[in-house]
Subunit: 222 residues, 4 copies
DNA sequence: AATGAATGAGCTTTCATTCAT
DNA sequence: CATGAATGAAAGCTCATTCAT
């Protein structure tokens, strides 16, 4: 522990070109599941290894330690989300389209991979400082800022009301989104209708409410 | 963590009449601080004891175990919030008044006791099952339902739009509120103006946005 | 590991006045034995705890970690030796008396507590850098220097030959002493005679040889 | 560490005729360095492999396990020393010549390969039983006995004093030699003069001291 | 011969919980 | 009520060793 060791022989960060080993992937996936299920401290390396069907030590072959593993989990999930946000932001459409696109994207992903979304959303700001100090907070801030930029652009075209600070608006929107997902996860929000369409119903109502909150004064048309 | 052991001699729940011992209070306060600072698992009994300036073992004199201690922390905070919500709900005023009253109340409390609010809000639904199985989730659900009732009442009078499920509306509102508080805590939301008024600026914008989101079709008057 | 923790509640360094707890002593003694038996890395905390008849965790109640424990072992043993060396150096007698006093002291201690001496002598310079960086190397250097001072004083009075650098002389003397003890421990040096007197025979011959090596030119009288 | 597993296909001891593979040599050299640097337990196979610039598994191709590797290191070093001792013992000259020859040889080797000497000397008798049970202690004992034979021969011719048990004398001499080398390594013994001659100065003084210690009564002549 | 991914036993360390005083 | 020494189950991490390629 105290003895100064030379650096590891095995690479913990993959060389940028090489294809990712299958087992590394398996570990990452298992980590997402266990993490989502039990949270940071409840997530034992032993569980992850078992869940991935690999030996205990292999986790440490691919990741320096628990923190780095979980950071990778975050990083991976956020990378996906950020890419999507960026694509939506830079794509065509009005600010309203983009906001509703973001809400829709997250809820759609949730429909197919609830655990991943849980990890992404539910654990933000709840995990030890250390972990966040890596990449996450940065990335979370980035997500807010992207949405804030959308809002700001909408304000400049007169589409959105300009009496709300863009960052605050973005924060509120993401908050509503997060809590809605949380509500779905914990069973507080129980949409009606056939299971296939439940999420879509929620999506529609959430979009309507959020857009009404940020749009410039107008007669709501639906 | 929840291993059942032999029963204790000393009562852990105070007799309803007796005044609360000073040190019990100190422990509770320290627990709030430490919990807010380090989260559930990072919150060690040793830290709490030191923070309260009492001996290690005394914590176990007043609380059966760590879970019960932290549950008490939650219970206490939520009791305050629920009472306030209840009072607002049952008080006079329109639905809009009541919603804006809730937002204002939380942000006002935040102004004077940010840590307590952080614990209350930030850790909701993020704590191990064990803890939640006690009383917290119940109370959190209650909070949502109170707000949902306010929404429903507003819908029935035609004040609020009725195309949004009340529980979903309440969830979204609380989500926006939570994330805003989180944003303030982590420095993401940085209000302008003199420190005294910063929170009020945020409050005004948040209220405006939220109300616009749930009000029935109208010309916004500000 | 990475999370910044506040310092421990329990004191690892004893307050200078308080009497040393019995169990702390037991742990230290056990550590000496196990350490002598198995060396630094072979010395498992579990063994020490078992040897001391205490619970695993108690070791960590009194010592921050393994390094600190073993450092304490060293520190304690060296403190005794250094005190003895100092006393001999500052006491009365010729340089020869003092040198033979040092050799005799170590061999006498060895007679009654071979393990302790083994730890003291055998592990010098063999233990990880970390451990030594605490106090040991310093103290070992001090031991050499004390003996070197004795030599130098002897050279100045003409009692000892002055064509040998005092530090080198001291080093050689302590080396001969160490290897002799090692030889006794591993059974290489097998003194003859009744067990009671074996060590004394060795002592006599070692003293004779060493003194002859450093005394100024003279007719040996025996 | 010594768990018996299935036998290996590849021979670990080289056939006596075949030339030693280059990489085997590299591994052995690296092992000497790492071992000298970090000691037995600090010497990890990974370090050795990296130091030798070969793949992890290759170490296990040439050596059955860690113990055998390190034993080979010892064996190799000791083989050199023993051969030299033997040559000196069987060569011409007085006992004094031979003793001074041994001291000189070790210090000369030290001048050119300090690490190797460190391994050889510094780790004697300090390594776990397992390792010693192989060949080393045997060889160390042999070294002492060779020197003891030299002493005994000198005593029989009347050149050396006969009131000291030859094995004890040999032990003391080697101890003084070891500690001197240790002192040089750790910087305790700091010879004066130009770097080229420093070791020779030490050699001269050490020889003078040692010989005075074992010679029969005489007027020292130098 | 050579590689390095894969395995898992073993060890250190932490910390909730108990208990004698 | 109050104290803090004592306990021991758990979990993180290391590294010798194996094995498929």
């Amino acid at each position: 522990m105290t003895s100064p060791r030379s650096p590891r022989a095995t690479p913990h960060r993959l060389p940028p070109d090489a294809p990712e080993p299958e087992k590394r992937r398996a570990i990452l996936h298992a980590a997402v599941r266990v993490f989502a299920e039990k949270g940071y401290h409840g997530c034992r390396i032993a569980d992850v290894a078992r869940g991935a069907g690999v030996a205990y030590g292999l986790v440490y072959h691919y990741f320096k330690n628990k923190d780095e593993l979980l950071e990778s989990v975050f990083a991976e999930q956020w990378a996906i989300l950020l890419a999507a946000l960026k694509a939506i932001q830079e794509g065509p459409g009005t600010a309203s389209d983009k906001i509703s696109g973001v809400l829709g994207f997250v809820l759609d992903v949730f429909k197919t991979a609830p655990t991943a979304v849980r990890v992404l959303i539910l654990e933000v700001a709840r995990t030890p400082r250390v972990l966040r100090s890596g990449s996450t907070p940065e990335t979370f801030f980035i997500a807010v800022r992207i949405l804030a930029d959308v809002v700001k652009a909408g304000q400049e075209t007169g589409e959105l009301r300009d009496d709300i600070e863009p960052v605050l608006a973005a924060t509120g929107i993401l908050g509503a989104l997060e809590m809605t997902v949380t509500g779905l996860v914990v069973g507080l929000v129980r949409p009606v209708g056939p299971p296939e369409e439940q999420i879509d119903v929620v999506k529609g109502q959430l979009v309507a409410m959020v857009l009404a909150g940020v749009r410039a004064q107008d007669r709501r048309a639906g």
